[in-house]
Symmetry: C2
Subunit: 220 residues, 2 copies
């Protein structure tokens, strides 16, 4: 029994009136001119998830849409600061990210998440969590591990090889590729603009955003 659910629904006092019509998700989406959804980028460390999510966000913003990137940094230092990298903690990490992403989608935002999310089961759980099936768009940021390791922008692969980071995805912890991702981008083949265009085209074709590109705006 939750106290927090006991606030309203019906009020006996005439001083506080029950508010019948909250703002619906549909009303928000109509106002914003796009659908709310979770764009779930998954892939190895250094595969380009954050780079790509950031580029897609820029593109969406330039067309006047509202999107927001949830990234590992924000979460590991904030909401999920109490979690480590054990399989259980990784699962809980992704569960919480999924719940937060769902809230953003409900609010009408196009929310982009950039987490390795190596376990298929965890990603499928987020897919099952969202309100509408089309709210979850899985984007496999595909890149061979040797290419990721050659990039190694923060020297994490090097440390993993030296045994300094145990349970490193792709080295001594598994990455389970998506079986039916809505989108697969290959960052070892296409550049970031090309990959971002692929994502935007999907959103357009499936009517998350307007089918016609919106005039670009630099103001505000």
């Amino acid at each position: 029994m939750s106290e927090d659910t006991g606030d309203v629904k019906q009020q006996r006092s005439t001083n506080v009136t029950w508010v019948e019509s909250a703002v619906t998700r549909e009303a928000r989406e109509t106002r914003r001119g796009h659908r709310g959804a979770v764009l779930w980028f998954t892939g190895l460390s250094a595969s380009g998830k954050s780079t790509l999510a950031t580029e897609v966000e820029k593109e969406l913003f330039s067309e006047g849409y509202f999107s927001y990137v949830l990234d590992g940094d924000n979460f590991r230092h904030g909401l999920n600061g109490d979690l480590g990298f054990s399989p259980e903690d990784r699962t809980e990490n992704i569960r919480r990210v999924g719940e937060v992403a769902k809230l953003f989608a409900e609010s009408g935002a196009l929310v982009l998440t950039a987490f390795i999310s190596p376990y298929r089961r965890d990603r499928d759980r987020v897919r099952a969590l969202v309100t509408r099936p089309q709210d979850f768009i899985e984007i496999h940021v595909s890149c061979p591990v040797n290419v990721c390791e050659a990039r190694d922008p923060k020297g994490l692969y090097k440390k993993a090889r030296a045994g300094e980071i145990p349970n490193f995805t792709g080295i001594d912890a598994p990455y389970e590729k998506p079986r039916e991702a809505e989108i697969t981008v290959e960052t070892d083949v296409g550049d970031v603009k090309t990959c971002a265009r692929q994502v935007i085209d999907f959103l357009r074709t499936h009517e998350y955003i307007s089918q016609k590109p919106q005039p670009r705006s630099n103001k505000g």
Copy 2:
């Protein structure tokens, strides 16, 4: 060391370019025409937090602003489904709500939270968490416990008196009133419209939203 932070910043491969200019919070706020902030409603069960938050949201939406209500229901069934009502769990509950509210504010939204949040320390922790001091607006939804108990829309007070809900705020668990809330509304005195107006006026006076009321719109 977080794997999820190891994605970008600098890329060796020419195929993935580091994206310099992410969309800033300032750019979002300019585009939206209002500041991002957390409107933190706190008060006893049945004091009218959710009713009031919902009314404020409606008003904001009708003027074209983007707001979203985070409520106990969504959280207790979702993100915080693993938490109970012990003092420790209540603290963790509010910590997580605070972290999520911060993300919404960062995304440029006016986010309204409707949680009892009985401990001053927990609320102050959220206040300390947000990026800018003015991001946190504490709203004390004040109502004498006997009035809340008379309302008792879900019969929770009755159950608490019968000993069926232990640790019920205001009955056998403490509610620590805010000492320096930005806004105090008295729901036993003013009706919901009046209280909502008080909140909107604060947002206007302190330039979270335009100082002049925006034309009302019913379209989308």
